[in-house]
Symmetry: C2
């Protein structure tokens, strides 16, 4: 594959100029004009074939997903996306695959006014690294360490749905459109992230799974948390599952790219309006506690210990 | 491998705070304070095992190299490095490999005051993506498109040496220390890049090879070039080679990470002092021409056509 050709190809699909881009694709480095006084939020994620996506992941949806998982990180900081870099490693140049991948990537980029300003194309086992730069006023950034004891824990969407879709696909069973999208074409909760600026006390995006990610937030805030298992949002795809199987999916599914955030109880009344305005399900699932660790309670207030034990959850795995 | 542990491990090795870093490793995104009014220079490169480095590349030197090839891009823009992201894909967690890799990476980062502010660690075939952000005043950035007909073409170091070392290693023959370093531990010509700000008319870093990279610069400037083959810098490792074999190494070796730049002939006299001050060999190898294409002349002024023909060189391959 010719690196030059792919980059040229992408450049031709892009608008000629973008705000804040002095020099885009085509030199040794891009030159960007960051806004003065506003911090830059920077994040990056790598997706590898066979680990983060199946070899038959449709390329347009993979283009979307590789950008969405990074937009999710910016959303979790309350940042607006500005610029993207795309590093693509492919075993061979497959024009139709590339065309579809680029279409999925660029269409999501376009929706958020994101400019592709550089990257690299190399030969090797299929792997995608996306790096994003965005902006967020320093005093409004949604950090992990801002939660207080007594703050409510809220989650967007339906954690566990992506993992359910993966399990069903592996077993050769059909899934609902919602579950299919959760796995192949996850959301990018940017509007939600912006709405939470200066409103939520802490926020994290769900990539490892609700329980390990909430553990990160709790530890960063020097707190613990109490979760009500029967409050976890449920999709119709979950209806045939035993409670315990469903809880484990919801708690440790991973690959959700939903936001989990905390807010003072006084703001609970404003959640329904926010959820309706953004058309994003928002569910209160528990509260932050002074006691460290995450306590999981069923409807009868009995504590539930997930399989694999605590250390598995407490640390999180990649 | 636990992603969390590796990132924590790297964080512990780093200075607690760095200028311009509001929030480093450990949240969904890093928060950085870019200097107001100065453009951000951003570049990224991926290195894959078996394609860009051999499986037995010593890990400390691979850590150095993966950063150096990116610093080379910033150097070619005349930018000062500020912040780095490291995406590391490994088949398994090998503590001693990681330790050595991190030492090589961080020691070069430290030398240039570069802060590691984020990244990602994933499982998969070994692959390294580094993304750098730096700064350069807009009117002093070294772009590829600034050369004028009659400008001299200058190259740093000894292009072809890294490729020679690779060939010799594959053949099981020993190489000089200089050739070994060129392959395993390439330079990062940052001081040279800074010195060329507002002085050179155009600049590019040599990654694909002298001829394809010079072609990029010439095309970006709407020009051609004339190269004197007997002016190309020679290393002692080249002494046993036939002229034609040597030229092909020097012209299309690749992986050099030297700078190739152009300057008005009036500045030729200042080159020796610059070379001496920076302790970097600088060699005038030709001049830019109005006629398009690259013309290669031997000592008798006969044109040399490299094997593989012109299109191979004119476009460059990755």
């Amino acid at each position: 594959m010719r690196e030059f050709e792919l980059i040229e190809q992408l450049r031709r699909k892009l608008p000629a100029s973008k705000p804040g881009v002095t020099l885009g694709i085509g030199d040794d480095a891009a030159l960007l004009r960051a806004p003065s006084g506003t911090p830059l939020a920077v994040c990056t994620d790598t997706l590898n074939e066979g680990v983060h996506f199946l070899p038959d992941h449709p390329p347009a949806e993979l283009g979307h997903k590789s950008l969405a998982v990074n937009l999710s990180d910016l959303a979790a900081m309350g940042a607006s996306p500005r610029w993207a870099l795309l590093n693509l490693t492919l075993p061979a140049a497959d024009e139709s695959w590339l065309e579809a991948f680029a279409a999925g990537f660029l269409s999501l980029a376009e929706r958020y006014g994101l400019a592709l300003v550089g990257g690299d194309t190399t030969r090797g086992p299929r792997s995608i690294t996306v790096t994003l730069m965005g902006e967020v006023p320093e005093d409004q950034a949604l950090r992990r360490d801002g939660a207080a004891a007594g703050d409510l824990i809220v989650v967007s969407g339906t954690p566990g749905l992506a993992r359910l879709a993966l399990q069903e696909r592996r077993a050769g069973r059909p899934v609902s459109a919602a579950a299919y999208d959760a796995l192949h074409c996850p959301p990018a909760r940017l509007e939600l992230g912006l709405a939470l600026r200066g409103w939520a006390s802490a926020c994290i995006d769900l990539s490892d799974g609700l329980l390990p990610d909430l553990s990160h937030l709790a530890r960063a805030s020097g707190l613990g948390a109490k979760l009500a298992l029967d409050a976890l949002p449920v999709a119709s795809d979950f209806s045939t599952l035993e409670a315990q199987t469903r809880w484990e999916l919801q708690l440790q599914g991973g690959d959700d790219y939903e936001l989990c955030f905390t807010l003072t109880p006084e703001r609970r009344g404003e959640l329904p309006e926010l959820s309706q305005r953004l058309r994003v399900p928002l569910t209160v699932i528990g509260e932050m506690t002074d006691a460290p660790g995450i306590c999981l309670l069923d409807a009868a207030q009995n504590e539930f210990l997930p399989s694999g034990g605590w250390s598995h959850f407490a640390e999180g795995e990649s």
